[in-house]
């Protein structure tokens, strides 16, 4: 699933280059949004969905252990701060 989600994100970057709508505004979505704009609004929503899937299936291991107060957290604040 992890690989599939990353593949879908790469695919989204590819289909972002929508040469098929380059030279047309027809159809007008909801009667007023040119298809080239509606398509890219859809790309934005697809990005939100894909990143939600990435969080579900590709979340980096081990990070959730580093909650406030965990070892190496606030205790090390003085090292640089």
């Amino acid at each position: 699933m992890r690989k599939l989600v990353y593949a879908l994100i790469v695919l989204l970057l590819i289909v972002h280059q929508d040469f098929w709508w380059w030279d047309t505004y027809d159809p007008l979505v909801f009667g007023f949004i040119p298809i080239g704009l509606a398509y890219h609004a859809g790309v934005s929503l697809a990005a939100a969905i894909l990143w939600a899937l990435a969080i579900r299936y590709c979340w980096p291991a081990g990070l959730d252990d580093e909650e406030p107060g965990a070892e190496g957290g606030a205790g090390r604040e003085g090292e640089h701060a």
Binding site: I9, Y25, G36, L37, A47, A48, D64, E66, A81
Partner: protein
């Protein structure tokens, strides 16, 4: 007077928020610079979104679509939705984790440790600060100009008479530029000074909500005044259909372009007939619409990578309470971009063709696309919405300015004073004091520079983004590639600087605003060069020490 009262009310609210955030200040440097790493999901989303979306999201997007049509959304907005979240997910969370484990406050602290090089801080410092300063100036200048433009008649005309001509005209009784810019600087300074990064996070959350809501309200009001969204788009399809797609066809009517041409011809004739001593600058010929090429569109994808290297974003990432706090920002950021940008893009496109009572709403020859939204609101929505929209524009400006002021203060305090002068022996209280003093100093310097009104700074915007984006391979490699070396990092930074300067000079030092190199945005070339330098030099130089690799990537696994 109404817009001024609304703006004053809004600024007073912000001031109150700044003072309130000070009540939660714990007095430590970690609290001042990274809010004790305690910012939750919602505040993190709002502060990241507010920081990445400048006033450009409202006025710039409208102006760009007025000039170039709907293609601007795909080029600048939907690409950002994908790439910004990628930066948060792939880089932001990792950097937060390193920051938490090792107590980092600034990017330079991280790079010094990761590349085992004290000097890399000295190389990065002027580059990072140099790229942020034009960005700050643009914000302060835009705020002063916005207030000046919308407050005509609010003050006594005898004290503040009308002046300037054409696009530089200022109505009598308007709040002068120097005063508007000073008020904005003082408001931002107040909540950054007292509240630190927590103050900026609170203010950003409030301001982000304000500009999202106002963007939507403006859209519905303008659509209604133009006879409905459908009628507004149909007018564009009839008069300027090229604005609804990314190409210009030979049979397109180009109504606005021809009207601009007619106005230019008349202005040119008048200019030529005038005595030479009174001529002034010749009128500028309108540019014929040319559409957007696929390569130009594709290469713009690199620009949003700048988010991965913005020092002010780095600081916001470090404020997160936990890795989980990033989740909402990663998911919602693309959707919020859509919510703000789609209405503004449509308004800009409609403005090209809107006609009321037989007259174009935006007159032919109108030469300031960034003022399109303000003119539309002024003509169609009246003073109340005008006042609120101005508050929204100022909100977008200030929500970026605050983080940038604070991050430069942090860099000076932690990477220069704390690191070199006091050798990391500053007490918490001293760090907060120095941080605040630097923020005051930077605000004053920025304000004084803004008084000079260096118009050329606006051409630097895209070049600053290109510079940050071209350093993205450095941070990506630092986070994921164990083999990246100190020499590779230097090679990447120096190559970025060299190629950036070379292309900047080729573009007439920013004068050619439509400059493309090999048909692409210059960032594509710079990023390719910086990546090549990083990889090649790293592969032929000594790998980092085992101690550094263990510090950032854990103990190596050996075969049993």
């Amino acid at each position: 007077m109404t817009p001024l009262l609304i703006i004053m009310g809004y600024l007073a609210l912000l001031l109150g928020l700044g003072v309130l955030s000070n009540r939660y200040f714990r007095g430590t440097a970690a609290d001042y610079f990274v809010a004790s790493r305690g910012i939750g999901s919602f505040l993190l989303l709002m502060s990241l979104f507010g920081t990445t979306m400048t006033a450009f999201a409202l006025v710039g997007s409208t102006g760009e679509s007025f000039k170039a049509g709907i293609g601007v959304y795909g080029m600048m907005a939907s690409s950002s939705g994908i790439i910004h979240s990628a930066c948060f997910f792939l880089v932001g969370i990792r950097l937060w984790s390193f920051g938490k484990r090792h107590g980092y406050i600034t990017q330079i602290q991280f790079f010094r440790d990761r590349f085992e090089s004290d000097k890399i801080g000295l190389v990065l410092f002027p580059i990072l600060v140099g790229l942020v300063i034009p960005y700050l100036l643009i914000g302060v200048m835009a705020a002063g100009t916005t207030i000046e433009k919308v407050t005509g008649g609010a003050l006594p005309a005898s004290m503040f008479p009308a002046h300037g001509v054409g696009a530089a005209h200022v109505a009598a009784g308007a709040v002068p530029y120097w005063l508007g810019a000073a008020v904005i600087c003082i408001i931002v300074l107040t909540y950054v000074f007292f509240g630190g990064v927590r103050g900026t996070a609170w203010a950003n959350a409030f301001q982000t909500i304000v500009f999202i809501v106002l963007g939507c309200v403006t859209f519905f009001v303008i659509a209604d005044k133009l006879g409905g969204a459908r009628a507004a788009t149909e007018a564009v399809a009839e008069r300027n259909p090229d604005k609804l797609r990314r190409t210009v066809r030979p049979d397109d009517p180009l109504t606005r372009y021809h009207a601009d041409q007619a106005r230019y011809a008349s202005a040119r004739t008048k200019w030529q007939a005038a005595p030479e001593a009174e001529r002034g600058r010749p009128p500028r010929a309108p540019k014929k619409p040319h559409g957007i090429t696929m390569l130009h569109f594709l290469s713009y994808l690199f620009i949003p990578l700048s988010v991965g290297m913005f020092p002010h974003l780095f600081q916001h990432w470090l404020t997160a309470k936990s890795a989980r706090s990033f989740r909402l920002a990663i998911i919602a950021h693309p959707a919020l971009i859509m919510l703000v940008w789609v209405p503004c893009i449509l308004i800009g496109v409609w403005a090209t063709s809107a006609v009321i009572d037989g007259k174009p709403v935006i007159p032919p020859g109108f030469s300031n696309p960034n003022a399109v939204l303000a003119v539309l609101v002024g003509k169609l929505a009246g003073p109340v919405l005008g006042g609120f929209l101005t508050a929204g524009i100022l909100a977008a400006i200030m929500s970026s300015l605050d983080s940038q002021f604070l991050c430069i203060g942090s860099i000076f305090t932690n990477d220069i004073v704390g690191h070199y002068l006091r050798r990391d022996r500053l007490s918490d209280r001293q760090k907060v004091m120095i941080g605040r003093a630097f923020v005051v100093f930077i605000v004053i310097v920025t304000y004084l520079l803004a008084l000079l009104r260096p118009g050329a700074v606006f051409t630097l915007g895209i070049w600053c983004f290109s510079g940050f984006a071209s350093l993205f391979p450095l941070v990506l490699a630092a986070v994921y590639w164990k083999r990246v070396t100190k020499a590779g990092a230097y090679a990447s930074v120096l190559t970025t600087a060299a190629v950036w300067i070379w292309l900047f000079a080729k573009a007439g030092y920013g004068a050619n605003r439509e400059f493309l190199f090999l048909g692409m945005m210059p960032v594509a070339t710079i990023i390719a060069a910086s990546t090549a330098a990083l990889v090649l030099v790293s592969l032929v130089t000594k790998a980092p020490s085992a101690a550094t690799l263990e510090k950032f990537f854990g103990k190596p696994r050996h075969a049993a």
